[in-house]
């Protein structure tokens, strides 16, 4: 691997992370399920045993956000919602979670309680039980206060089958709401910008939105939650796995003015900014309006929109607001603020 140390770019969701996962991690374990690199593993059986109905979905994720508490959420809510979302976008009904804590020496118990209350409320709201856990304490300064890991199990109902391989030319790309809210909220909450405005993270469990979309269109091709790397990275993963082209209409992608303004200042592109409460769905074109309507009927999908189409040259492209066309490639690492 280029260089012999882990850089922050290796955790950014971009090309550097994909490279690390594909070259250093996955080959050591192998296996068809792991190699699919989906948000959650779909398990038709476990050690040869099958469920009477549906298939198991299984996933895990670690949460390392700074600051731990931010407008619209906190690490507890994020840790539960993130794993619920990974299950939900596989079409699974989330069932139960494990929750593991790595706490730093000196961390305020009141803050821990606050994060856990938030995690518990999010779990209750999503109808998932926390059924096992773990607690470790490490030396001061080691983990920035608190790291949370969750793993989750859900059940994919019979008749639901989502996967990038099902994407077809002519399909529509739908997003359930504005993009980039979470990462912008974090950038502002870090206080490095001194932006007067605040914006709430979209951090939320989106199983309800995903369920509504699937109910409106059981034939939906694939769903994802565009977290690290944002919409652009997620669509690149889908386009790459499906071997198709996708073209977005920039004017159709919902972006809050505050997100756009912060991105303009820093030289960021909202299409690469992380969301934590959005669903991207690729659906047959004739079902697109029904999916948008179903999402909009849900409180977390009010600004759902059709934002693009599958077809044309391989890769992901965007028709810009002024009518030009450019590719949306996968970035190497996180976007870095520019000089001027």
């Amino acid at each position: 691997m280029a260089g012999d140390r882990i850089r922050l770019a290796h955790g950014s969701g971009g090309a550097a992370m994909h490279d690390l996962v594909a070259r250093v991690i996955v080959p050591r374990f192998g296996g068809e399920t792991l190699e699919r690199l989906e948000d959650a593993a779909e398990l038709p059986d476990i050690a040869g045993r099958r469920l009477d109905q549906g298939r198991l979905a299984f996933t895990t994720d670690s949460y390392v956000v700074q600051p731990l508490f931010f407008p619209g959420g906190d690490i507890g809510k994020l840790a539960v919602a993130g794993t619920v979302n990974d299950l939900a976008v596989k079409g699974a009904e989330p069932a139960c979670l494990t929750l593991a804590l790595v706490i730093e020496e000196g961390f305020a118990v009141a803050d821990l309680e606050r994060a856990l209350d938030s995690a518990a409320a999010t779990a209750r709201g999503a109808g998932v039980a926390v059924v096992a856990g773990d607690t470790k304490v490490v030396e001061r300064g080691a983990v920035g206060g608190l790291i949370v890991n969750t793993a989750g199990i859900g059940v994919i109902p019979d008749g639901v089958s989502l996967g990038a391989d099902r994407v077809r030319e002519g399909d529509a790309v739908v997003v359930s709401g504005t993009v980039g809210d979470h990462e912008t909220a974090i950038v502002i909450a870090r206080g490095e910008l001194r932006v007067a405005e605040t914006i709430e993270s979209d951090c939320a469990a989106v199983h309800g939105v995903a369920r509504a979309a699937l109910a409106a269109c059981p034939d939906a091709r694939v769903m994802r939650d565009p977290t690290r790397g944002g919409l652009a990275t997620t669509l690149n993963e889908i386009a790459g796995a499906a071997g198709v082209g996708i073209t977005l209409d920039e004017r159709a992608v919902p972006v809050r003015p505050c997100v756009r303004a912060v991105c303009d200042i820093l030289g960021f592109d909202p299409l690469y900014m992380a969301c934590e409460g959005r669903v991207v769905a690729i659906v047959p074109e004739d079902a697109a309006e029904a999916v948008v309507a179903a999402m909009r009927a849900h409180p977390l999908g009010r600004e759902a929109a059709v934002i693009g189409r599958v077809g044309g040259r391989r890769g992901v492209y965007v028709r810009t607001a002024v009518g030009g066309v450019r590719p949306l490639v996968m970035l190497e690492g996180a976007q870095l603020p520019r000089i001027c």
């Binding site: 922050l8 590719p327 490639v329 001027c340």
Partner: protein, 376 residues
């Protein structure tokens, strides 16, 4: 909800842009080459897909407009040398992090345990120095005339406050001397400079008059929204046509009137003159350009990180095999380089134009090609 503020509506309007594109098409009746010399223009042209709207005969060349890209390897090496010293915190703008020096980058140094911090404003470096009096805080001073006044202001403030543990690695560059070099490049006709908006807010549009007068190259100072850039291109084309038809003189025009005056910002210019004196400077990929950089004046020399920390001068041969120099001079386009998209990519940059997101090659790679080296 998703609507931008009223001004931006117009500056990003497909209707207005479409009318300007029509105008540009009507003005191009032969091969024309225009050059932008500002990384923000480079990125905006790519980011809005403007090349895909231009007529075939109009070439938009990207000059050395990215201050990070033109920072010499020896400058990066000095920043790295500072980061390796005990008790030193190196403070930098984000886009310097991944730029390769001769054997490492600030990002790699940080991964190896060095204290390297990203800031958005030079004042954060001053705040860090105040907060940690036991640490030597070194600000990597990269930038054109847009950035240098803020750093000069920081230094003046540090002096006034008696902050003694802050220094600056001076790697600043000046735009007008580079334009004169670009204007003189043989073998490449140039029909106009799209002059940088932010830099011109500071130095004023008049700063380009010598270039227009001495070299007969039309100059238009343009803003950064897509409609600004298209309008600037149309103004350059109209001026070039006037010059041909009525043998008119090349001149400096300002499209970006909402921010740029002929004189610039006198307070910022005074501040620059107070803290810095003009010196020769090395531009990565191009070489030495006389009177194109800033050094600390005697009174502020205590803030010069090179002298203060004894940062060594490394002599590094420029990269072999990449044609960044020729790209920045407008002689070639990024896809013309044999390394582009293969050995030289954003993950493994070889040449200066790939190292920063605002470099011509990086912008091309990110915005104008995908799925292999099929960039146009």
């Amino acid at each position: 909800m998703t609507r931008a503020p009223a001004g931006l509506d117009v500056l990003r309007s497909q209707k207005v842009a479409g009318a300007l594109v029509e105008r540009i098409r009507a003005l191009v009746d032969r091969p024309v080459s225009l050059m932008e010399v500002c990384g923000t223009h480079t990125v905006a042209i790519s980011r809005w897909g403007l090349r895909s709207l231009m007529p075939q005969e109009l070439r938009l060349l990207s000059g050395p407009g990215c201050p990070v890209c033109v920072t010499p390897v020896s400058g990066i090496d000095r920043a790295i040398a500072a980061a390796r010293l005990p008790g030193v915190a190196v403070v930098t703008f984000g886009d310097m992090m991944r730029v390769p020096g001769s054997s490492s980058s600030l990002e790699s140094e940080r991964a190896g345990g060095a204290d390297v911090r990203i800031v958005y404003s030079p004042l954060e470096a001053l705040a860090a120095a105040r907060a940690e009096p036991g640490r030597e805080v070194v600000l990597v001073g990269v930038g054109f005339e847009t950035t240098s006044p803020a750093i000069a202001a920081t230094v003046v403030r540090a002096e006034r406050e008696g902050v003694r543990n802050l220094s600056v690695l001076p790697l600043f560059k000046l735009v007008p001397p580079a334009l004169e070099v670009l204007a003189r490049v043989p073998g490449r006709p140039l029909d106009g400079f799209l002059c940088p908006g932010h830099v011109s807010v500071i130095i004023g549009a008049r700063a380009y008059e010598p270039v227009a007068e001495r070299f007969g190259i039309p100059c238009v100072v343009a803003g950064f929204e897509p409609v600004d850039i298209l309008a600037g291109v149309a103004m350059l084309l109209a001026q070039a046509q006037r010059a041909r038809d009525d043998s008119g003189k090349a001149e400096v025009e300002t499209q970006y009137r909402r921010a740029v005056t002929p004189e610039g910002n006198p307070a910022a210019l005074r501040l620059l003159d107070e803290v810095f004196e003009v010196c020769d400077a090395e531009w990565r990929g191009i070489g030495a350009i006389p009177r194109s950089g800033y050094a600390f004046r005697e009174r502020f020399r205590a803030f010069d990180a090179v002298a203060r920390l004894g940062l060594p001068e490394t002599r590094v041969p420029d990269e072999s095999g990449c044609v960044c120099g020729e790209i920045m001079l407008g002689l070639r386009q990024p896809p013309d380089c044999p390394l582009f998209g293969t050995r030289c990519a954003p993950r493994t940059p070889v040449g200066p134009c790939m190292v920063s997101s605002e470099g011509a090659c990086a912008a091309f790679h990110r915005y104008e090609m995908s799925g292999g080296a099929d960039g146009r």
